[in-house]
Point group: none
Chain length 200, copies 4
DNA sequence: TATGAATGAGGCTTCATTCAT
DNA sequence: CATGAATGAAGCCTCATTCAT
């Protein structure tokens, strides 16, 4: 049974619900929500179908729990990058690298997120969470830089989503072709553009 | 650009095409691929279920046709913006506005695209199409600007996806909260950042 | 495929819904609601499971339709007996015989009704219908007799349910042991008791 | 009369028995046999699911035990009413009141009985018990009255079920609309009809 | 004696797809 | 060209029952 990287975050006895939770994530990310059957999840974990329903109300609840957990993990990584007592620029640099590293490591999860972004199914409020929580980390750094006058007084909402979009889509661009993200060149290029712009 | 088979049946020409988009695409977007039934699509278009299968091999082909058609439409808009005999900077400006205008107008399609981006289902090669065709428009302008030395010699692949991501995620950010995109402020802000960067 | 007697009431082409309706009744009455599977119904009719759902929203709707129809049939029989231009006593006599005849002929249906009487499942309002509509027929005759002073001025609500109970439970008593109802003796005995009482 | 195995566990004796009735029987009655889960019963009683299976072979046996116990309780009440050294008429009067009082007090059980009456499931022989044991009480009184020539020489089988039906359905009529049974008026009315008939 | 985690058979329902008309 | 009745495979979920502790 494959373990997703991000499952490492759960330490201690993998009892019941937790155990299912982690294993199911792998299956869901590999095949997507609809193509994954509860039977497959059960088989992958090595328990019976009934056991899934003993711990989770239904397939959807299990799925949402995984999404939510993944977002928390992502947020955690970003927050860590932004917490250092560095300059705003350096924080941005760390966020860029942290973002790429997370995307590379949790590729499956990232695809899952992207799918949910456009979803009208049920996880729209999850999306709100994600944009709210994770974008906020970027925004805080931006606003700090503006306050410290190292950044120009831009509209923080717009520029936050712009920065986040640069990173996300670039990461996705590489990942979707199963190429690795060229961590240093890409990070440097995006820093450069974001800080200095493309014009001479 | 391919015409959907029964486009002409309904009012003919452009109108028929619009008709299809506003019905089938709308339904798919509102409920997602899996939650949308062929029956609903048929009802939305105003034909019977059998008719769908008369023109399309199956649900998936219909869906892909819509995606493809939407991408074509998007590409068309971008290409138009890039064709003008303007400076690279002005072309970028036009692309930014064109991107936002399209996203605002074809909101449903945009959500559909996003959903597909993360898909493991079947439309991965569609995604390739999209990124290839549409990103190429941006890339051509970038490379033109670099060649003309109005832009710095950046890595075109990375910066193209960065620019595209800025636009896409910003548009999505506004649309997902059902706010309209603030066309002029957002366009100006993104131009400014992309051209000049955030640092003083 | 067995035909319930009461299905004779439906003349004309047994199309779709009607056809399923009638055949399903037989299966339901033989095994009861819960022990009857949709698969069995489909098999009994000779159609596929999907066809059931093409015509009925779900198992329950199919069942309720059958119950409702049966009650209507019962009410119809009673109403006919009460419509004759006879004396109240004669109408009572006819109602008694009509009740017994119906119970004998539609034994399966009667058991179905009884089961529903005590049900808390979903058909409680059906029960209300039944008691309201069918008891009303008895009550009208009673009140007519009271008005014409051939009956004593009893409480119509109580005596109606009493008369109805005499008939129903007596019929049930015989049917539940798979004995036929002794039509004439039983009818005469109940008439006699109801009209004259047991005391000398 | 059998004691439910774990009756004594809970408060012991009569109270324990009441406890069982008010919990298990109550749950069964509120939701019906099939819609009641063993888990709910266990929760209502305040034990774990396993405990149910420690004392009862399966759900059905538990259910039948409750039915049987209820019938015993009912029979007990009737027998008490019929044991007094009163006249046959007075015994009938007492049976009528006893019947109503029981129905009012054990409303849940009565609904349960009614449901079983129409059942094709498994408790058909329970029904036989009930009709046999309880009807016999009425019948004994009737035959005593006939022998003593205070009642006319009617067919005891038919008239027993008739009397029983009058009471049962009238009680049910009131209970099913959640109205209380009007004890005195209803008792008097049924006595009157049963003794004297409706005709002048 | 009591528990509750685990099971797995079985039921209901959905819906993409076909095909005779 | 167009229909819509009919299908049946496939999936989700329930819940009575078991058993190790």
């Amino acid at each position: 049974m494959s373990q997703l990287p991000f499952t490492e975050v759960f330490k201690g006895g993998k009892e019941g619900r937790q155990y299912i939770f982690e294993s199911a994530a792998g299956v869901f990310t590999k095949k997507g929500y609809h193509k994954t059957t509860v039977e497959e999840i059960a088989a992958a974990i090595g328990v019976s179908k009934g056991t899934i329903y003993y711990y989770f109300k239904n397939k959807e609840e299990l799925y949402l729990a995984i999404i939510r957990e993944g977002i928390d993990l992502f947020h955690e990584q970003l927050a860590k990058a932004a917490q250092s007592p560095a300059s705003p620029q350096d924080k941005i640099r760390k966020l860029i690298r942290g973002h790429f590293i997370f995307c590379e490591k949790e590729k499956d999860l990232v695809f899952l997120f992207l799918k949910e972004l456009g979803s009208t199914d049920f996880s729209r409020e999850i999306l709100a969470d994600m944009l709210a929580k994770c974008l906020q980390v970027f925004r805080n750094v931006l606003e700090e830089g503006i306050a410290k006058k190292v950044f120009r007084p831009v509209n923080p909402e717009i520029i936050t989503s712009a920065l986040f979009g640069m990173l996300t889509i670039t990461a996705f661009h590489y990942l979707s072709y199963s190429r690795g993200i060229p961590l240093e060149p890409a990070s440097l290029a995006l820093e450069d553009i974001f800080f200095n712009g493309i014009c001479r």
